[in-house]
C-alpha cells in the first residue's frame, strides 16, 4: 500500500511542480503529512512520492534526443557529472518532502487530540 500511496503522491508532485514549481514539494508533503492518519508512515510516503515524481520528470528529460548535449554542457558548467546532479535533485526533493511531512504529522495530532475540559 505504501508504494501505491507514494505513486499517488508522486503524480501530485509532478503536476504541482510542473504547474507551480519546486516549492510545491514541501507544501504538498506537509499537506499530506497533516491529513494522513497518525502513525501511517506519511513522511516516508511523501519522500518516496517526491522521489518518484521528480524521478519521472528527470526520466522524461533524459529521453530527449538533446539530453546528451545538455548533459555535457550542464555537467561541465556545474563541474559535476549530470547523473550526480540528478541524484542531488532526487535527494533534495525526497528530503524536503520527508521533513515537511514529518513536521506536519504532529500538528495533525495536536489539532485533532481531545482538549482537556
Amino acid at each position: 500500500m505504501l508504494f501505491f500511496r507514494a505513486i499517488g503522491v508522486g503524480v501530485a508532485m509532478v503536476a504541482a511542480t510542473w504547474l507551480l514549481g519546486w516549492w510545491t514539494v514541501p507544501v504538498l508533503a506537509a499537506a499530506y503529512g497533516f491529513f494522513r492518519p497518525p502513525e501511517s508512515g506519511a513522511a516516508s510516503e511523501a519522500a518516496l512520492g517526491a522521489v518518484l515524481g521528480w524521478g519521472a520528470l528527470l526520466a522524461w528529460n533524459a529521453t530527449h534526443p538533446a539530453f546528451g548535449r545538455l548533459s555535457s554542457a550542464v555537467g561541465g558548467a556545474l563541474t559535476i557529472p549530470t547523473v550526480v546532479l540528478m541524484l542531488i535533485a532526487l535527494a533534495f526533493a525526497g528530503l524536503l518532502a520527508w521533513a515537511a511531512a514529518r513536521l506536519a504529522t504532529p500538528q495533525r495530532r495536536a489539532v485533532t487530540a481531545p482538549r482537556p475540559r
Binding site: 511542480t17 519546486w22 538533446a66 548535449r69 554542457a73 555537467g75 561541465g76 528530503l95
Partner: protein, 830 residues
C-alpha cells in the same frame, strides 16, 4: 517520545536548510530549488533546445501576420508586409535564439553586468562607466526625436524582443539564466544605444598617447618618432595609388639617442602606465582584429560579374557575435546577412543588387588631454583659457543581482568628456563613439534598400558616425567601391592625435571633422579590384594629413593584393580559398634574410640545420607544417635582440619602452650596418647578419629543447596555434577550445597567441543576374548549448569551407526538404 522529538528536530533542520538553499543563493550557487526543479530547472532546458516544426507567436503592434521559415541552416527567412513588422519579427526571432547574449552584451555596454553576474563584473562595469559610455547612451535617448524612422524601427525591434521574453515560462529561460538564478530583463531602445557603444569599444583602436613618451625616455625623441611613424613605410593602401607592388618609402632611422629629459620627467609623473590600459580599453596584440575584405570588378572575374568577399575578424564567442537572417518586405526590402543580436538591421550582407562588408579603419578618434584642476583629490573645476570652469558631476551606482547597492563612483566631465585621475595626473578624453548619433540603425535600413554600391556608400557617408569602418560594396551593375566611413577629427596645430594634449586651452580641441571628399575611397578603380586589411588606408604621398598611427602591419594587405594581381579570372571559390590562404607575406620578407644569415654565419650545427629548415619551408602556415614554429621563435628572438635599447634601463630605472612593429624591422633589413643592429650590452659591434644568425640559432635550440627534434609531431603548427571560442560566461563546457587552425601571423587568417580572435563571418557574394552567396561563421544560430545549431558551423569554418546561402524571394521558393521550422507571428490581441 525522545526519538520522535529528535526526528522532529532533524526534520526542522533539514527543512530549514533545504528551504533556504532552495530559495536563496548560497555562495556562488544560485537558488537550488529552481535550478534542480526537473520540470522547470536546468535539465528541463532540454525541451527548448530545438525549434518546434511549427509554432505561433504574437507581438504587440504588429500590423499584419508575419511568416518566418527557418531553412536547414537554421536561418530565419522573415516575410512581412511592411518594414516595421519585419523588424518586430527580427527582434522576436533573434531573442528566440539569443536572448541571454542580447542581455549580456547590452549590459556590458551599459556597465550593469554586476546586476546579472555579480561582483565579478565590477571592474569591467567601472571601466565602462568611466569611459562615459552609459552617459552618452542616455543622452542620445533623451535627445532622440521619437518621430524618426530610426526610433520607430528601434521600438519595433524592442517590441519583438520583449514579446518573446514575456511569453517565456521559467521552463524556457535560456540555460545561462538558470545557472545564474536570474530572469531576462526588459529590453528598450536605451539598451540598443548601450550595445552600439559596446561595438565602438570593441573596435576602439589607436595607440597609447604615452607610447612616444616611453620610447623617447629611453632613446630620445628623434629615434622615437622614427620608430613609431605617423605613416607606414611599406605602402599598400586601401585607396589604390597606381602602383603594381607595395612601395617602400625611404626611411631614415636615427640611431638610438640619449634619453629625452622632458619625456623622462613626464613618465615619472605618470609611472609605467598605459593610458588605454588604465582606462580599461581593450588591449590586443598584432593580428587580433585582422579583418580582410576585397572586391573584384567584372573585368577580372571569371564569370564577368562583380565579386565581393567579407571577412571581419573579431573576438570569437559562443554564441557568435553574429546572427544570420533574411528579411523580405515586398516592393520594399529584400536583404540577407548578419545582424548583431540586440541591434535592428543587417550589418553586413547583400540585397538583390548590392553586397557590402566592413573592416575596421583603426583611425585615431580618441584623444587624451592633460587637465589642470582646482583640487588634486576631489576637483570641482578645471582650468580653461585662464578661467576656472565647473566640472559636471555624475554619480555612478553599481547594483548587485538582488538590487542592493554595491558601490558608488563619482565621475567628472569636462566639455570634452570624462575626466580620470591616473596616478597624480588628471586626464580627460574625447571619443567619437560617445558622440555617435542615435540614428545609426537607420543607416543599415537604408543600406538594405540601396540599389547600387554608390548609393549605399553615400548613405553611409552621410549618416554613419562611429566606429569608423572601411565599407566595401559591389553591385550588379559591375561597380566595386570602398570608402573609409566614419568621423575623423580635425585638430589644430600639427593635427596629430597621438600625443597627450594640453587640456587647459581650447586650441587643443577638435575643430571639426574631415569632409567626406577627403576620406580614403575608390570607386571603379582602374586596377579592377579593391582590398582592405586594416592597413593605412591612404598613400601618404596622396594624402599626408594625420589620420592615426595604429595601422595594422601591411602583410595581409600585401598578400591579398598579390593574390588579386596574379589572377585575372577570379572565381567565387578562389575568393573563398583566399580567405584562409596560408602563405605569409611576412615570412616572404624575413625568411630569405634568415637563410642568408645562416649561410654566411659561423658553421654551427644548430644554425646550419635551422637555415636549411627555413630554406625548405614554403612559408605556408598549414596545420601540418613544421617550420612555422621555428620561424616564429626566431622572430621573437630577433625583436628581443634588435630592440634591446628599448628594454628597461636598470641604471636609470626607466621602464621598458614599446617595441616597434616588425614592419620597422623589415625597414632595417636593408641597412645591415645600422647602429640599431648593434647590441647595447656587448663590447663587439654586431651587424644585421650577426643578429639574425644569433636569433635563428637560439630559436632552433629553444624549440628543440622544448619539443624535440624537428621531425616530431610536436613541431606541427597545429600544436602551437589553435582557436579558442569562449562562451560569454567563460564556461569551458559551453566553449570550444583548442581548435587547430590554418594560418599564422600576417596571413589572411591570422592567429593570435591565445586564439581568441579570428574570422567572425566569412562571406563571398557573386553579383550576377541572380545573387549567389556563400558564408559561414564560427558557431551556430542557436544560443542554446544543447541545440545541434549551437556549434554546427564550426567544422566547415575550421576547414575554410562555406555554406551556399538560400535566398528565396518567397516562402514557396524554399523546398520542403530544406525547411527546418516555421513560425507564424500575429498581432497581440488586446
Amino acid at each position: 517520545m525522545r526519538s520522535t522529538r529528535l526526528g522532529s528536530v532533524i526534520a526542522l533542520i533539514v527543512l530549514a536548510v533545504l528551504g533556504y538553499a532552495g530559495a536563496r543563493p548560497v555562495g556562488p550557487l544560485p537558488p537550488l530549488g529552481p535550478l534542480l526543479d526537473p520540470a522547470n530547472g536546468i535539465l528541463a532546458s532540454v525541451h527548448s533546445a530545438e525549434l518546434p516544426p511549427l509554432s505561433e507567436g504574437s507581438i504587440p503592434g504588429l500590423q499584419g501576420p508575419v511568416s518566418v521559415t527557418y531553412d536547414d541552416r537554421g536561418v530565419p527567412h522573415i516575410f512581412a508586409s511592411n518594414t516595421d513588422d519585419a523588424y518586430r519579427a527580427l527582434g522576436y526571432v533573434v531573442a528566440r535564439d539569443r536572448l541571454f547574449q542580447i542581455e549580456m552584451q547590452t549590459r556590458a555596454g551599459g556597465g550593469t553586468l554586476t546586476e546579472l553576474v555579480g561582483e565579478v563584473a565590477l571592474p569591467l562595469d567601472q571601466a565602462t562607466r568611466a569611459l562615459g559610455m552609459p552617459r552618452s547612451a542616455e543622452g542620445r535617448v533623451a535627445d532622440a526625436d521619437t518621430t524618426t524612422p530610426t526610433w520607430r524601427m528601434a521600438s519595433a525591434y524592442a517590441a519583438g524582443v520583449n514579446a518573446w521574453r514575456r511569453q517565456l515560462s521559467r521552463r524556457d529561460y535560456p540555460l545561462e539564466y538558470k545557472l545564474l538564478g536570474r530572469a531576462p530583463y526588459e529590453y528598450t531602445v536605451l539598451e540598443m544605444q548601450h550595445l552600439q557603444n559596446r561595438m565602438g569599444y570593441t573596435l576602439a583602436s589607436s595607440e597609447d598617447e604615452l607610447r612616444h613618451v616611453r620610447a623617447a625616455a629611453l632613446v630620445g625623441r628623434a629615434a622615437a618618432d622614427a620608430l613609431f611613424p605617423t605613416h607606414a613605410p611599406i605602402v599598400e593602401p586601401l585607396q589604390p595609388n597606381g602602383q603594381s607592388a607595395p612601395r617602400r618609402d625611404p626611411t631614415v632611422l636615427p640611431p638610438p639617442g640619449t634619453p629625452d629629459s622632458t619625456s623622462v620627467a613626464l613618465l615619472k609623473a605618470f609611472g609605467p602606465v598605459n593610458l588605454r590600459v588604465a582606462l580599461g580599453l581593450p588591449q590586443r596584440g598584432p593580428d587580433a582584429v585582422g579583418s580582410n575584405n576585397w572586391a573584384v570588378a567584372p573585368a577580372r572575374s571569371a564569370s564577368g560579374h562583380a565579386l565581393l568577399a567579407g571577412d571581419p575578424h573579431l573576438e570569437l564567442t559562443l554564441p557568435s557575435i553574429w546572427y544570420e537572417a533574411h528579411l523580405v518586405v515586398p516592393d520594399s526590402m529584400d536583404v540577407y546577412g548578419v545582424t548583431i543580436p540586440g541591434l535592428p538591421g543587417i550589418v553586413i550582407g547583400f540585397n538583390r543588387d548590392v553586397a557590402w562588408t566592413f573592416t575596421n579603419v583603426g583611425a585615431d578618434v580618441m584623444d587624451f588631454y592633460l587637465e589642470t584642476v582646482d583640487d588634486p583629490i576631489g576637483p570641482t573645476r578645471y582650468r580653461l583659457d585662464g578661467a576656472w570652469t565647473p566640472l559636471e558631476r555624475r554619480v555612478e551606482r553599481f547594483y548587485a543581482p538582488d538590487g542592493t547597492l554595491m558601490r558608488e563612483d563619482t565621475m567628472r566631465y569636462t566639455h570634452r568628456g570624462p575626466l580620470r585621475r591616473i596616478n597624480e595626473q588628471w586626464i580627460s578624453h574625447r571619443w567619437t563613439v560617445l558622440e555617435t548619433s542615435a540614428r545609426e540603425p537607420e543607416v543599415f535600413d537604408k543600406a538594405a534598400r540601396a540599389r547600387s554600391a554608390t548609393e549605399l556608400l553615400d548613405h553611409m557617408a552621410e549618416q554613419y558616425f562611429a566606429p569608423a569602418q572601411n565599407m566595401l560594396a559591389a553591385d550588379r551593375g559591375g561597380m566595386i567601391a570602398v570608402r573609409s566611413t566614419g568621423r575623423y577629427p580635425v585638430r589644430a596645430g600639427n593635427g596629430r592625435g597621438d600625443e597627450l594634449r594640453d587640456g587647459s586651452v581650447r586650441t587643443s580641441d577638435w575643430i571639426g571633422y574631415w569632409p567626406v571628399s577627403d576620406y580614403p575611397q575608390s570607386f571603379a578603380p582602374a586596377q579592377g579590384f579593391l582590398a582592405s586589411a586594416n592597413q593605412e588606408p591612404l598613400d601618404p604621398k596622396v594624402q599626408p594629413r594625420y589620420m592615426g598611427t595604429d595601422w595594422e602591419r601591411p602583410w595581409r594587405a600585401i598578400r591579398i593584393n598579390e593574390l588579386l594581381r596574379e589572377n585575372s579570372a577570379v572565381t567565387a571559390d578562389d575568393m573563398r580559398a583566399y580567405q584562409t590562404n596560408p602563405r605569409s607575406a611576412r615570412a616572404d620578407e624575413f625568411v630569405p634574410a634568415f637563410v642568408n644569415a645562416a649561410r654566411n654565419g659561423p658553421p654551427k650545427p644548430s644554425l646550419v640545420r635551422a637555415g636549411q629548415l627555413l630554406a625548405d619551408w614554403d612559408r605556408e602556415y598549414t596545420t601540418q607544417n613544421r617550420s612555422a614554429v621555428l620561424f616564429e621563435a626566431a622572430m621573437t628572438n630577433l625583436s628581443r635582440l634588435l630592440w634591446d635599447e628599448l628594454r628597461q634601463d636598470d641604471e636609470a630605472g626607466t621602464p621598458a619602452g614599446p617595441i616597434p612593429s616588425d614592419m620597422m624591422t623589415a625597414v632595417l633589413l636593408t641597412q645591415p650596418n645600422h647602429a640599431w643592429w648593434n647590441m647595447r650590452r656587448t663590447s663587439s659591434v654586431e651587424t644585421r647578419d650577426d643578429i639574425l644568425a644569433d636569433a635563428l640559432e637560439a630559436a632552433y635550440d629553444d624549440v628543440v629543447a622544448q619539443f624535440g627534434e624537428p621531425d616530431t609531431e610536436a613541431w606541427n603548427w597545429s600544436q602551437h596555434r589553435t582557436a579558442s571560442i569562449n562562451h560569454f560566461l567563460r564556461i569551458a563546457s559551453l566553449s570550444r577550445r583548442d581548435i587547430p587552425m590554418q594560418g599564422g601571423s600576417g596571413t589572411l587568417n591570422p592567429s593570435t597567441g591565445a586564439g581568441t580572435h579570428g574570422a567572425s563571418w566569412r562571406m563571398v557574394v557573386e553579383l550576377g543576374p541572380e545573387i549567389a552567396a556563400m558564408a559561414t561563421y564560427p558557431g551556430g544560430q542557436s544560443g542554446h548549448p544543447a541545440s545541434v545549431r549551437y556549434d554546427d558551423r564550426l567544422a566547415k569554418w575550421t576547414a575554410g569551407q562555406l555554406d551556399t546561402l538560400r535566398v528565396p524571394r518567397s516562402e514557396a521558393e524554399i523546398p520542403a526538404a530544406m525547411r527546418r521550422a516555421r513560425l507564424m507571428l500575429s498581432p497581440t490581441r488586446n
